[in-house]
Symmetry: C2
Subunit: 256 residues, 2 copies
């Protein structure tokens, strides 16, 4: 029997850790740490830093190489194949290091509920017949770090907000009937596909980290600024994670 | 000069507190605790419990009576009047207890970014000419507590999610082009206004608290169950806070 805890660790600031997250990590027999390759070493380094800072010595830490996602092919199919490969690596490591069962924890960037696949991968273990019970410890998302850094609410007063991906925004344009849209998983400036009139943007990269970088203003003015800064920062760090919130004043409900 | 920290405290579980929240509360000279009247004493009791548990004795705690929101009149107008009244009470308490300036903290249920008005109220202080700098410490939202308790992601794979209110859902029906909708601030079962075919619901009340209550299933089956349970729980506790996530299988992008 395996108890698998998916522990949200927030977005790069070790002080985003909740007391529940610290407790769950220390209750584990084994913590699995994904190695993502050189470009994102900052990310595994943060996990190591959290372990060094908050986790007792008796918890075993095991690093594993995260499989690479295929670069070609239909998007959702590639993602599903990638999840299957990760589930296999988790299963292999759990079998090798906890053959008699026990408590495993995985540290999830942000929160396991928001554009993260750990829950879907964990369900594959159950689907493959493994005796696994899952629990989830919520963590601060990059969206919360974005709004906190800009000191703004996510939603307009009594108004809805849409959370979507760069891919969707580019394919479908501004969603109908909603004045605020938050965009995650954008591989490159999908906001440029919108007619910028009436749109305001709050952008952030490396949220919660020392390298945090914020830009806010009218999309018409800031779109080229963000494109330039994003390229510069990506070159400097070797990787970038950025998200943004936009408000469209042409849509009812924008005020507030 | 006043430094005003809006500190997200999560949703009823003191273990939702982050290390940043604990640090911000302890860095304050003054913590203002709103008294909401008898029905919601659990909520102020949680704030008192957090102070007793995590805040050093040298931080001054001051309770104040939260103004009541008018029951009649246009909704947004009533909300704005209410915010103005709260801003006045904050200003009066800050002037009385920190006449020479200093650091004030307010403990915000959930996260200050999501259907919370602390940021709007704080901006009124600046608008009224008070010398205030605001900072925001993110906290775990009830939406994250909901998805963690049900062990589900908020979004479908690569798909968008809409966060809206009970009022909007009732007025506008299922939002266009999105398979998942999260509903907050619902004063009473707005999901009943939808044709239930193809819709699944994950509902939760008192999320993160000992009284946490979860229901999941087809909306057609669970709508009456939730109505009955909600009334029973509300009568038993004197108040209820509940939210839910729904997925509509008839809309493309629901799978995942």
């Amino acid at each position: 029997m395996i108890q698998l805890s998916l522990v949200g660790i927030g977005t790069g600031n070790p002080d985003h850790l909740t007391r529940a997250a610290i407790r769950a990590l220390n209750a584990a027999d084994l913590i699995l740490l994904p190695r993502k390759g050189d470009a994102k070493t900052d990310l595994i380094d943060l996990r190591r830093e959290i372990c060094a800072d908050c986790v007792a010595d008796n918890v075993r830490l095991v690093e594993f190489d995260l499989p690479q996602r295929a670069r070609a092919g239909e998007y959702l199919g590639r993602v599903r194949d990638w999840h299957a490969a990760i589930a296999q690596v988790w299963a292999d490591n759990i079998a090798a290091h906890l053959p008699g069962g026990g408590r495993v924890a995985l540290m999830v960037w942000g929160d396991p509920s928001l554009y993260d696949s750990s829950l879907r991968i964990a369900r594959r273990l159950i689907g493959a017949g493994m005796d696994v019970a899952i629990d989830v410890i919520p963590g601060i998302t990059s969206l919360q770090a974005l709004t906190a850094a800009h000191r703004i609410p996510l939603n307009g007063l009594g108004a809805p907000v849409m959370i979507t991906t760069g891919r969707r925004l580019r394919a479908e344009g501004w969603p109908q009937g909603v004045a605020r849209v938050a965009v995650m998983l954008d591989e490159g400036c999908a906001f440029e596909s919108l007619p910028p009139e009436g749109i305001q943007i709050w952008w952030g990269a490396y949220l919660g980290m020392a390298a945090e970088h914020l830009i806010h203003g009218r999309l018409a003015d800031k779109a080229p600024v963000i494109r330039t800064e994003r390229a510069r920062l990506r070159a400097a760090h070797g990787w970038i994670m950025d998200i943004y919130l936009m408000e469209n004043a042409c849509i009812q409900g924008a005020a507030g």
